[in-house]
Symmetry: C2
């Protein structure tokens, strides 16, 4: 047995040397040992999936809609998405040009596999969602970054050899920032200049507290729109997302999906239609209150960028981020995410306010104490 | 717009040149035009998902078990799988060493990504499931094959440079053959000799009509077992499968899953437990009758290998397979799958008997007519 374990790594691909989740795993291991944690590390809404969504999935199951769907996704969902993109997001995407898949992570997987060869360049707006960084490294891409407060002129002098993807989330995970229309337009110009794809991860689109969000495809029509159900409708475990964009890309991703997940879970595709028909206004208003509470309680103690949306603050801390996080656990049972998984620059933590009132109040108290207030 | 379409392929990865689904797509397009097709091309059971499975998913949904699960899958399902592997399949796999994922296609995706570098070798027992061939080509592996009726001595003289995977399905899609214990043992010896992983796709395990099936891991303990719920419980659209094998591999696949599908659909994981508790004996007995009917009706007209399991016959045809398939559509509205997507050797068709009595009777009549009977 020792023999086997010792030789076991020999069959792993070289790619596996470029993926490391030990920081996150260590955090989870530590968290599991706490008896009354203040958990501000969560990346999903703290409210339940709306009944309308759950009941639609239950109905599909009762009707035994449990077989493979078309690879591309059921037509009624793609038609409903086409309508939503037009009415809510202000851009056109036909049902034929939308692919339904199993979460935005699956979109990203398909995106990298269909476009990125080793040594191709990927430009990330940073700080950036950890999966962008992970996949760039895993697939041997050269990762380039620009800070999220870039201006149009910052992009003009950038030189690239083989830029394939320009990738960002807005509202941002981890910072909550919503890129301005000028910024998105500048990224679109860069895409045109380089032949790269502009890829907009809009999974947090409804968590837009000050009316700043506009879909990238409404500004730059060739944008790749990555739309997720997970956060908006608190259905992270139902694994449903969609992507629209240039025809050749959607066709390539659909072809590849026959070899990866085959199709998104069928009953949940029916639930997706119900989700798009569900009014989430009250949920978003509740999260706006949470955002306001956190900002007011913490703004005199921490520096953070504009908390426009999503449900995160990205706060600068006065010491090494991992040390700060460790101290939070040791002294307060406080769980936040170290910023080092989102950026190499500076010392930051991601504070999630997807939590109930009591947790937020305890969290604020701990964070203020840690800042020396 | 024309400008965009013309230049659109420039962003696609080189990998995309090595994937081609046009044959299958053309078949589906032709099939969609038939008004009363005899469909013997289906790769999933024709019976409904058992109520017990559907009700378990519905219960999980009602209880709002709709958030992310652990990446590796919910512990109760992994524990139940561990018990099943011991009691039904005769090998040991701890719950810690089982990964739950979104269909066997997802297992294969993770397997190739975690193990296969460009120019590594992959040995397929042929004819082989089309996804093995597709992924081998897509990831730049050198594909080697051995015919499924190989003997142990056939393997002894094979030379490899960098063999990473030995991959087969038994019962086989597309042939229905179940490999003998001697054959599996010989493949295990080859794995030991080369350092490759022996990967056994057991998605058709319950469709074993003559009691010939034995899990590879019960013969060769280091085997990678790929277990699927889709076919056994007719839940192809619920996207659920599991994999066990060497610890370092399962750990690597679990790490990567954080970047691909994150987790299998959570409500369906609960349904998986109910599936494993569901007695499928009657369903299998029904499929055995279908197998016997097809074999008796066709054996004097077509040559095919031992139809041990799954729900396919792989029959030799007296002309080019694509021409035969086209003639079936034109003359009889008959749909079967051309063997050319499973093997480069000879002219074959895959006949599925996952269909109702009337379809099978019409199918037999058409096939006999086409053989000139």
């Amino acid at each position: 047995m020792l023999h086997w374990l010792a030789m076991s790594a020999s069959y792993l691909s070289r790619r596996m040397n470029h993926i490391d989740t030990s920081q996150i795993r260590r955090m989870f291991d530590l968290a599991a040992k706490l008896d009354s944690p203040i958990n501000l590390s969560i990346g999903q809404p703290h409210f339940d999936t709306p009944d309308s969504v759950v009941e639609a999935a239950r109905k599909a199951l009762r009707e035994k809609k449990t077989a493979y769907s078309q690879t591309q996704g059921i037509l009624p969902l793609r038609e409903r998405l086409s309508q939503k993109f037009q009415e809510v997001n202000g851009f056109s995407a036909s049902a034929e040009n939308i692919l339904v898949t199993s979460g935005v992570a699956s979109v990203l997987q398909l995106l990298y596999l269909t476009t990125v060869d080793p040594d191709d360049e990927v430009l990330l707006v940073e700080p950036s969602f950890l999966i962008y960084r992970g996949l760039s490294s895993f697939f041997g891409a050269r990762m380039r970054t620009i800070p999220e407060d870039f201006s149009a002129s910052d992009l003009e002098n950038l030189k690239f050899d083989r830029l394939k993807l320009i990738l960002f989330s807005s509202p941002s995970n981890p910072t909550g920032r919503i890129l301005s229309e000028d910024q998105v337009r500048a990224l679109g110009n860069l895409a045109d200049r380089t032949g790269a794809l502009l890829c907009s991860d809009e999974i947090y689109e409804i968590f837009d507290y000050d009316g700043k969000f506009k879909s990238a495809a409404a500004i730059y029509p060739n944008a790749v729109t990555m739309m997720g159900f997970s956060k908006s409708y608190s259905m992270t475990g139902m694994r449903l997302a969609a992507v629209s964009g240039p025809e050749a890309l959607i066709r390539a991703m659909t072809t590849l999906q026959q070899y990866t997940i085959v199709c998104a879970p069928t009953p949940n595709q029916w639930a997706g239609i119900a989700a798009l028909d569900t009014d989430m206004t009250d949920y978003v208003a509740d999260y706006r209150k949470r955002r306001d509470f956190m900002v007011n309680e913490l703004k005199d103690h921490y520096r953070f960028g504009p908390p426009d949306g999503a449900f995160y603050l990205f706060a600068e801390v006065p010491e090494d981020a991992l040390k700060f996080v460790q101290r939070g656990i040791d002294e307060h049972q406080l769980l936040v995410v170290p910023g080092s998984i989102f950026t190499d620059r500076g010392n930051w933590i991601r504070i999630s306010y997807a939590a109930n009132d009591e947790t937020l109040e305890r969290g604020v108290k701990a964070l203020r104490a840690m800042a020396g207030a």
